[in-house]
Amino acid sequence: MTSTPASAPPPAASPSGPPAASATPEQPSRARMTASAARPQQGGRASQGRPEDLTAVLVAGPRPPRPSALSVCLTFGWRAMLKIKHVPEQLFDVTAFPIMMTLMFTYLFGGALAGSTTEYLQYLLPGIMVMSVVMTTMYTGVSVNTDIEKGVFDRFRTLPIWRPAPMVGYLLGDAFRYTMASVVILAVGLVLGFRPGGGFMGVVAGIALLVAFSFAFSWLWTMFGLLLRTEKSVMGVSMMVLFPLTFLSNILVEPRTMPGWLQAFVDVNPVTHLVAAVRGLMDGDWPGGEISWTLIASGVLIAVFGTLTMRLYNRK
C-alpha cells in the first residue's frame, strides 16, 4: 500500500482538500460544506446510498429515553427467538432428544421396576421431563461461549443498558425451549398412556415450576460459558455436573433402596425436590414443602451464579 500522490486520493475525496479541513470544532459549517461539496461526484456509484440520505439520516433527532431493564431483556429474548427462527435445527435437542429419553427409559426399566411400562410411566414421566429439560440447560452455556467470541457481544457491552440483560435474554429464549421440550414429552407420555391426576392445571403448574427452576439453574451455565475457553470444555464440565445431579435423584427409582450415604446426597439434591414437586403437582397434590424448597433453591442459584456470571461478564 504505497501512497504516491497520484494514487492516494479517491475521486470523491479530492474536493474536500487537505485532511486538516475535515471538521475542526470551530468550523462545523465549513466541514459540512466540504462534505456536501464532495457529493455530486458520487453520482456514478450506483449501489451506494444517495448522499443526501446519508446526511439526512445522520440528523437523528432527539435521542429516545433510556429503555427499562424489562424492555431490554424482552428485546434480547426476541433476539433469541429470531435466532431460533433462522437456525431451527437448534430445536432438535428439545424435540427429538426428549422423545428418545422418554421412550428409552420407559421401555428399558418399565417391566423390571414397576411390572408394566404403563405403571412405570405414571412414576417416570414427570421425572424424565425434569431430566430432559435440566440436561438441555447446558446448551445455554454453549451458546454463550460461542457468542461471546463474536464481535456482536462487544457492541452489546458498549450499550448503555441494564448489564445483565443480554444474559437474561438468552435465558428467556431458553425458557421457551424448555417449555417446548416439556410439552413434547407430555404429548409422548399421553400417547403412551400417562394419565396425570392433577389434570390440566396440575400439569401446567408442574411445567411452570420446572421452567422456573431451569431458568435459575441456567445461570450456572452462563457462568461456565464465560469462564471456560472452548465449547468443548463447557460440554465436558456440563456432563460432570449433570449426570450426578440427574441420575443420583428420585427420577428413575425411589431412593429407599439406596445406601445411606447416597440417600443423604439424593435428599439434598435440588433436582430430587424439583421432581417430587412436579410429580406431586401432576398427581393433583400441592406439595407445599417441595415447591418451597425448589423455589428457594432457584433463588439461591440466581443469587450465586447470576452474580458470578455478571462479574465475569463485566471483566471479560
Binding site: 501512497s3 492516494a8 470523491a12 475535515s22 458520487q42 429516545p64 433462522h86 464481535g151 456482536v152 458498549t158
Partner: protein, 360 residues
C-alpha cells in the same frame, strides 16, 4: 442540498477534549499491549491512530469504549472516567469493532431494529430508523438477508449503520477498511466524512497511511503500545522533510555526478533508485529559508549548469508511508519516546532520516 441541520441542536455539554488519557496501560501476561499512552483527542474531528498490527490500537480502543479495564493510568471520555463512570461513557459512544459487531445470524433489518430497540426506540420508530439507514447505506436490497451472506463492504456498512442509530458523540472505528476493496473503502470514507460533518468525533484506527492522511485532522502514531509521534498529517510529513525530488536522467552514466551536485545544493540525502537513470533527493523542511519548490528549482539549474540532462523531474510531498516507516523501523530510537506526544516532531525528524538511510 436540503441538508437542514438546524434541527440538530443537541447540546454538547462538555467543552473539553473528547478523549483524554494519561499513562494508559494494559498488560496481557508478559505483553504490555498498551504501555503508557497519553492522548488528547479534540472534539468534533477525526483523530487517526496509526500503527502496525499488534501495536496496541485495538486494545487502547477497547479500554476507551469500556470493554477492557485499564491496568494503569487514566482515561476520560467527555470528562467521564471510563472505569468509574462507564455508563455515562457508554451513553455517548459507539464502537465499530475490527470484526463485524452485528449478529451474523440475523438479517440486516433485524440487527438494526434490535439495536434501535435497545437504544430506547419504540417498535415503529426502530423499524423506521432501520429502513432509513439501510436505504442511505445502499443496503435496502440486502435488508432481508442474513448478515453472514453479506460481502465485506456491506458488513462494514451495516456495522457503521448500527453505530449511528443514535448519532453518537464519539464513534470508534477500529480499522474500518481493513480487507476492503478500494471502492468499498471509498464508501466507508464518505460515511466517515458525513458523520464527522454532523459534529461527531471519530477515533479511527488504521494501518493505512493514506487513510489517516485522507480523513484525520490529527494523527498519533503508535508502536509497541506507545505513542511515538503525534501531530497533524502535515506536521508528521514535514518531520521527514518538505518533499522529495524525483529525477530521471537522460544518461545513466551521469548519475554519480548528478548525485554529488544534488547533495551539495540541497545538503540532503540523495538516493539512487532501482531504475538506473533515476534519483530521489529529499528536500529539507523547516530549518531552511527557502521553500521546497525554490530549492528544487535551484537544484535543477545547478544540474543544467553541470551539463547533466534531466528528462523528467517531479517534486512530491513525502507520504505518510515514509513517516511511518521512518518512525517504526527504529524502535531503539524511541526509548523514553514521545510518550507525552507533545513535541515529537523534531525528534522524530531525526529518526526519520536515520531510518531512511539504513533502510535503503
Amino acid at each position: 442540498m436540503r441538508t437542514d441541520t438546524a434541527k440538530h441542536t443537541e447540546p454538547r455539554q462538555h467543552d473539553g477534549p473528547a478523549i483524554e488519557t494519561s499513562g494508559l496501560v494494559k498488560v496481557f501476561g508478559d505483553n504490555r499491549a498498551v504501555d503508557g499512552i497519553d492522548l488528547r483527542v479534540p472534539a468534533g474531528s477525526v483523530y487517526g491512530v496509526l500503527g502496525p498490527n499488534g501495536a496496541g490500537k485495538t486494545t487502547a480502543v477497547k479500554m476507551l469504549a469500556t470493554l477492557l479495564r485499564p491496568d494503569g493510568g487514566e482515561a476520560r471520555v467527555f470528562g467521564h472516567d471510563v472505569l468509574r463512570e462507564a455508563d455515562a461513557v457508554r451513553s455517548r459512544v459507539s464502537l465499530t469493532g475490527q470484526y463485524a459487531s452485528v449478529d451474523e445470524d440475523l438479517t440486516g433489518t433485524e440487527n438494526l431494529v434490535l439495536l434501535a430497540r435497545l437504544l430506547g426506540h419504540s417498535k415503529p420508530s426502530a423499524r423506521k430508523r432501520a429502513a432509513k439507514l439501510l436505504e442511505a447505506f445502499g443496503l435496502e436490497e440486502a435488508a432481508g438477508r442474513q448478515v453472514k451472506q453479506y460481502s465485506g463492504g456491506m458488513r462494514r456498512r451495516i456495522d457503521i449503520a448500527a453505530s449511528i442509530l443514535n448519532t453518537p458523540d464519539l464513534l470508534f472505528l477500529d480499522e474500518p477498511t481493513t480487507g476492503l476493496d478500494p471502492r468499498s473503502r471509498n464508501q466507508v470514507w464518505d460515511i466517515v466524512r458525513a458523520v464527522v460533518a454532523q459534529g461527531t468525533t471519530v477515533l479511527l484506527t488504521t494501518q493505512y497511511l493514506d487513510e489517516a492522511d485522507q480523513l484525520a485532522g490529527r494523527i498519533a502514531v503508535i508502536d509497541h503500545g506507545r505513542v511515538i509521534a503525534e501531530g497533524t498529517p502535515g506536521q508528521l510529513k514535514s518531520s521527514v522533510g518538505a518533499g522529495s525530488i524525483h529525477l530521471r536522467l537522460r544518461d545513466g552514466a551521469q548519475r554519480e555526478e548528478a548525485r554529488s551536485v544534488l547533495s551539495q545544493t540541497l545538503a540532503a540525502q540523495v538516493q539512487p533508485e532501482a531504475d538506473p537513470v533515476a534519483l530521489t533527493a529529499r528536500v529539507q523542511g523547516g530549518g531552511t529559508e527557502r521553500g521546497a519548490a525554490e530549492q528544487a528549482a535551484l537544484a535543477l539549474a545547478e544540474l543544467t549548469r553541470s551539463g547533466i540532462t534531466v528528462d523528467h523531474f517531479s517534486l512530491g510531498q513525502p507520504s505518510l508511508d515514509e513517516v511511518f516507516l521512518a518512525l517504526t523501523d527504529h524502535p531503539a530510537h524511541d526509548e523514553g519516546g514521545q510518550a507525552d506526544g507533545r513535541e515529537p516532531v523534531s525528534r522524530s525528524s531525526q529518526n526519520g532520516h536515520d531510518a531512511e538511510e539504513t533502510r535503503s
